[in-house]
Symmetry: D2
Subunit: 337 residues, 4 copies
C-alpha cells in the first residue's frame, strides 16, 4: 500500500500513519517530496488493506500495490488450470464449444438442439431451468422439470451440461443434476451464492457482471476458490457502456488481461453480448482469434418462437457453419479443437 499525504498534512498526521503501520507489525518507508509526503507500507497485505487509511487525518489517498485476490492469480499458480468434465476439456490449449438453447422450453426443443450442436462439434450443452428476468411478468423457466430434461439429453447425446443457479437454496438441487453450475451476470456479486457454489464438487462457470471491473470479477472467483472449489471458468459476456447499438459491449480485451492475471480458463459468450443473431458469428471468430479457451453460443431450432432471447439464437445450420471457421482460426492461434 502506498499512502499519499495531502499538502497540508502535519508531522503529527504523518507520525500517526507510521505508528499505525508499526502497530500491526508493518514497516513504513517515508519519502518527502517537494509537494507531498508519500508513505510506503510493507508487511502483511491483508492486515494493511483492512485499515481505513483514507479516514485518517492528512491522508489524500491510499494506492494498493497488490491486487486484492490471491488464489486465482498467476502469482499464486503460474500454470493454467485445466478442467476435465465428463470427457470435455476446458483450458490448457484446447478449444471448446458450449452450445444449446438459452432456456429449456420443452423436451423436443432441447433434444433437437442438443443433437444438432453435438453433430456440429460442441462438447458441452447449455440450457437453463431457472431464468433471472428483468420483468417479473416474463417466463421464469421450467424449474426441476427442465433439469430432468437436461439430464436425459446428457445421457442421450453424451454431452455434459451447464445450467444456471439463481438461489442459494437451489444450489444443491442444480448441483445434483448439472455438470457445471453457472453464476449469471446479475449474481456475480451475490456473495452468499458464490460461497454456496464454492462448497459444491462441481465446476462453476462465473459470468462477469455486466458492470463489474475485471478486478471485481476475479474477486468473485476468489470467493468460490477460497471455499475449496478450484474448478472455475471465467465467462466474459459483454459490459454495459453508453453504446446502445448492441445489447452489450463485448470486452474482448478482457480475455488476454484475465489470462495474464489469472490461471483460470476464459470463455466468451457472444450471444448475450451482441444480443442480435447477425453479430454472433463475427464475435465468436474474434473470441477464438484472441485466444479464449471456449465459447458458449445460444442455438434454437425455431428462434421466432423462443421464450427467451430469440433474437440472438442461431439456427442449428448457422451454428454448424460457424464451427467450420472457428476450427480454422483455432488452428492458426495454436489451439486444439
Amino acid at each position: 500500500m502506498i499512502i499519499v499525504m495531502n499538502k497540508t498534512a502535519t508531522d503529527a498526521d504523518i507520525k500517526a500513519v507510521v505508528d499505525r503501520l508499526h502497530s500491526i507489525g508493518s514497516e513504513a518507508h517515508v519519502s518527502e517530496g517537494q509537494y507531498r509526503t508519500v508513505i510506503g507500507a510493507l508487511g502483511d497485505r491483508e492486515a494493511i488493506r483492512q485499515l481505513p487509511w483514507e479516514a485518517m487525518s492528512g491522508v489524500e489517498r491510499a494506492v494498493p500495490v497488490m491486487k486484492p485476490f490471491k488464489f486465482v492469480s498467476r502469482d499464486f499458480q503460474p500454470e493454467d488450470t485445466v478442467l476435465q468434465i465428463r470427457g470435455a476439456t476446458i483450458g490448457g490449449g484446447t478449444f471448446t464449444a458450449v452450445a444449446g438453447p438459452c432456456a429449456v422450453e420443452s423436451r423436443e426443443q432441447l433434444f433437437r438442439t442438443a443433437e444438432a450442436v453435438k453433430a456440429a462439434g460442441a462438447t458441452v450443452l447449455r440450457g437453463d431451468a431457472f431464468k433471472p428476468r428483468t420483468s417479473p411478468y416474463s417466463f421464469q423457466g421450467l424449474g426441476e422439470a427442465g433439469l430432468e430434461m437436461l439430464a436425459e439429453a446428457r445421457e442421450t447425446f453424451d454431452l455434459p451440461f451447464v445450467a444456471e443457479v439463481l438461489d442459494p437454496r437451489d444450489v444443491g438441487l442444480v448441483s445434483s443434476y448439472a455438470d457445471i453450475l453457472r453464476i449469471g451476470t446479475r449474481n456475480m456479486a451475490n456473495f452468499t451464492l458464490l460461497t454456496e457454489v464454492g462448497r459444491q464438487p462441481k465446476p462453476v462457470l462465473l459470468k462477469r457482471g455486466f458492470t463489474a471491473t475485471i478486478e471485481e470479477w476475479l474477486n468473485a472467483a476468489e470467493y468460490i476458490y477460497k471455499e475449496g472449489n478450484h474448478q472455475i471458468i471465467m465467462c466474459e459476456r459483454g459490459i454495459r457502456t453508453f453504446e446502445t447499438a448492441s445489447r452489450n459491449t463485448l470486452d474482448i480485451t478482457a480475455v488476454p488481461i484475465v489470462k495474464g492475471l489469472s490461471h483460470l480458463p476464459v470463455l466468451v459468450d457472444p450471444s448475450h453480448s451482441g444480443g442480435r443473431r447477425e453479430l454472433v458469428a463475427p464475435l465468436t471468430r474474434a473470441a477464438v482469434a484472441i485466444g479464449a479457451d471456449a465459447i458458449m453460443v445460444d442455438v434454437h431450432p425455431t428462434p421466432d418462437t423462443a421464450q427467451v432471447d430469440g433474437a440472438q439464437a442461431l439456427l442449428p445450420s448457422e451454428f454448424a457453419e460457424l464451427m467450420e471457421s472457428v476450427r480454422a482460426i483455432a488452428g492458426v492461434v495454436g489451439l486444439r479443437v
Copy 2:
C-alpha cells in the same frame, strides 16, 4: 409496441407479423413509409411484449411504447405512497433523515452513534449486521448479534432501524428484528431475494444497482410489489461511470425522474455515492433541494477505526451541523421536517 421492418422486408414478412399479432388477439396498424414499413401493435401489452418480435424475419427492431412496470407507476396510482414506520414518516411531503453507522461493530459504537443522530434530528437509525464485501477477506458483519444490538438501540432511543439483508435464507431473521429491510446495490437484480422480501410485512428500502437504469430499478420494485408488499422506498446511491474522482456518480437527476414515473418515495444516500467525508454535506444539501423524501447518512464516532467505509463517515458533530442547513433547505422546497 411499434415494430419497425427493415428496408428489405418482404410482403410475406409484414404479413407474418400482422398474423402473429392477430393470433394473440391484438390489432396491427400498418404504415408504409418511403423507406420503412412500421407496424403499431395494439392490445394486451404483456401478451405483446412476451413475443420475440426481433427474431422474426424482416424485423429491424421493436420499440415498446409503455414501460414494463405497472403497479409502481404513477399511471397506476397517481397519489404519493406514504409510509408510517414506528412514528417516522417517509414520503408525502415530509423530509426524513436516516443515519447511523455503516456496520454495527460493537454495542458502544452503535449506542454512541444512535444517541447522537437522534439528538441531531434523525428519526430512523441505520446499521448493518450483514455486509456484502468485494473481497472475501474483508469484515463481513456481526450477524445476529448485530441485529440484537440494533433492536436494543431502537428501544433505548426510540428509533426504528433499517438493516441490510443479503441472503433469501436470512430474510425471516432480519425481518424479525428490523423495522425496514434494505436490499443493497449488488442485490437489486437478485430476483429471488426481491421475491422473498416482497412476502414480508416490513417496508423495503431498495437501493438502485450502481449500474442499473431507472427502468430496471423500477422493475425491481415491481418484483417486490407484486408479491404483496407495497411499502417500498427507492434509494439512489450513485452509479458507476467513467469518472473516478468520486466513488460513484450520484445521479441526482434520478430523483425527479423517479418521482415523475412512480408514486414511491425516494431517498438519497450521499455517503456511499461520494465515498469521501467532505462530499457528504454538499451532496446531502443537493438531495434535499431537488426534492428527495429522505436522506441516509453514515455517522461514526471514530471513523479512523471503522471496519467498513470509514473514509465516508461523518462525525456526530458534523452530522448535527449538516442537519441545520438541511432543515432550512427543506423549508424552502416545501417539505416538513
Copy 3:
C-alpha cells in the same frame, strides 16, 4: 511518481529505472516488498512525467502522485478566482444566473427573452450564433448577424453576454462582440481552440466534455491559463453514462470536487444536462444548494418553435418562478444573489 515493478522484474530492470531517474536529476527511493519492488521518484515532476516508464522492462505501472495541472490548482492559488464582467460578478461567494435562448433565431426572439430574464434576475445573457450540431442537416446558427443582435441586446438591457466559439478562425470575431467566450462540450479537448481563446482578453466559460474526467477538464483549463488568460469559468453540464432516461447525467458531485481542487468558479448548466423542461428547475435548485457559483438556463418565449433544443427551454414565466426558490436556497448556503 511511484513506479511499481512487476513480480518478475530483475535487478537489472530496477537499476535501469533508478539510473534513468538519476539521469534527469531525480532521486529514487527503492522499497522492496515481499511481492513487488516499488520505486518512488522525487524531483522535477514535469521531467519525470514525460518519460515512458511503462515502456521500460519490468515495470508494471507508474502511478502519478501529483495532478498534471498546476496553475489552475488550489495548491498554486489558494484563494478563489473572482471575475468582474461588465457589472456581473462570478465566483467568490456571489451567486449569478446566466439565461437566454440556446440559439439566436431572430431579433424578436432574442429581445423578448433578454428582457424577461433580466427582469427575473439574470445578470448575464446567453445566446449562440454558431451551433455545433451532430447532424450536418440541422440548423447551424445565424453567424455574425447573430452576434450583432446579441451586442444590441447587451446595450438595450445592460446584460453582458456569453456566446460559443467553434472554430479557431472565428475566435477574433466572436471575441470582438462577446463578453464571455464559451467552449462547448465537444470542443473541450480541441487544444488548438483552447490555445486561441487563451490569448484573448475575454473570460472563457469552459464546458466539461460530456465524456471527460474532472482531471482532463482541469487540464483543458490549464491550456487556457498558461497562454495568459486567467479568467476561466468551469461549466458542469452532464456526462454520458449508461442511463438514457435523461439526456445526460448531471455530475453534481463534480461541483465540490472542482472547487476543492481548483480556485476557479464553477457554473452548472441544468438545461443541457437534463434535456427536458421538467428537470430544469429541480436540477437548478440542486446546483445552488451544492454551492455552484452560477447557473446557465435556456429560456425561450415559444419553445415549440425553437430551432435548437426546444424540449429543454423554460418559458420566461417558469424561469422567473424558479429564480425565487433559487434566491432562497442561495441564502441558506451563504451566497449573495
Copy 4:
C-alpha cells in the same frame, strides 16, 4: 418519426401535432391505444426531424424510425466503398496493414521504423507531426518538419502515409504532404475540422470519438461526405467505459455493426485501444477475425525512449511476427492480404 403522446395528452394536443405534420406536407397516422396515443409521421424525413416535437404539449417522446445519416449508409450505396491510395487498397475484401511510429521524433527513428514495417508487409505508413496532448506540458509534435520527413520516407520506401490534422488552419498544409488525413478521436465532433477535410482531395481516416456512439460517428462521416469527399475510412480505437484495466475498451462489435449500416471500410487501431504492448497482438488478431478491412499499429525501434505512447508500441520484430498470424487469419475469413 413516431410521436408517443403522454397519458394526459388532450385531443387538442393530438390535433396540434397532426396539424403541424400537415403544415410541412407530411402525413399523420394516429393510433389510439388503451394507455397512449401514437402518431406515425410520414413524409420528408429531414423536415420532420428538424421540428421540436418533444417541446409540444402532451408529447411524451419522439422516436426516429430512420437513422440521421444518409450518404454513408448502405441504404444509399449497397456496395462497399474501396479506396486506392498510391498502390495500397483499403476495403472490398483486401486486408491492409498500416504501421509506423505514433509520433515522428527524428529522421532516424522514422526511417528505421518505415523500413521495418514495409519489410513485414505494411502497405501504409503512419506517423504524426501534430499531436493533441491532454497536458499542455507534453511533447506536441515536430510540425511541418515532421511532414517533410514523412514525405521523404514515402519516396524512399514507396509507402503512402497517414498523418493527423488538428486545426482547420493546418488542413491545407497537411493535405499537401499526406496521402491520408487523419481525424483524431478528440476531434471526431469538431465539425469545422470535418467540413474542412471534406473539401480536400485526400482520403480521410476518421477515428471514432472515444465516447461517441456508432450513430454519432457515422454522422461525423456524413459531414465529410456531404462536402464532396467520399473517401472515408472509419477507425475504431476503443471507447471509454468504467473498466480501467485497459486504456480503452475496444468495441470490437462496432466492426460488424458499421459494416452493416455503412458502405465505408473499417480499420481497427489495437494500439491506442489497449494502451499496453502485450495487448496489441491479441487485439489485432481479433480485429482481423471479425472482418476489419485494415489495422493500424504503433511500431517504434526503441519504445522506452518514445516521446508519445511508448508503452503500447511494438518492436519491429514483434510486428513482423504478428503479421504472420494476421495473414493466416485473414485467409480463413476470406480476405486478400
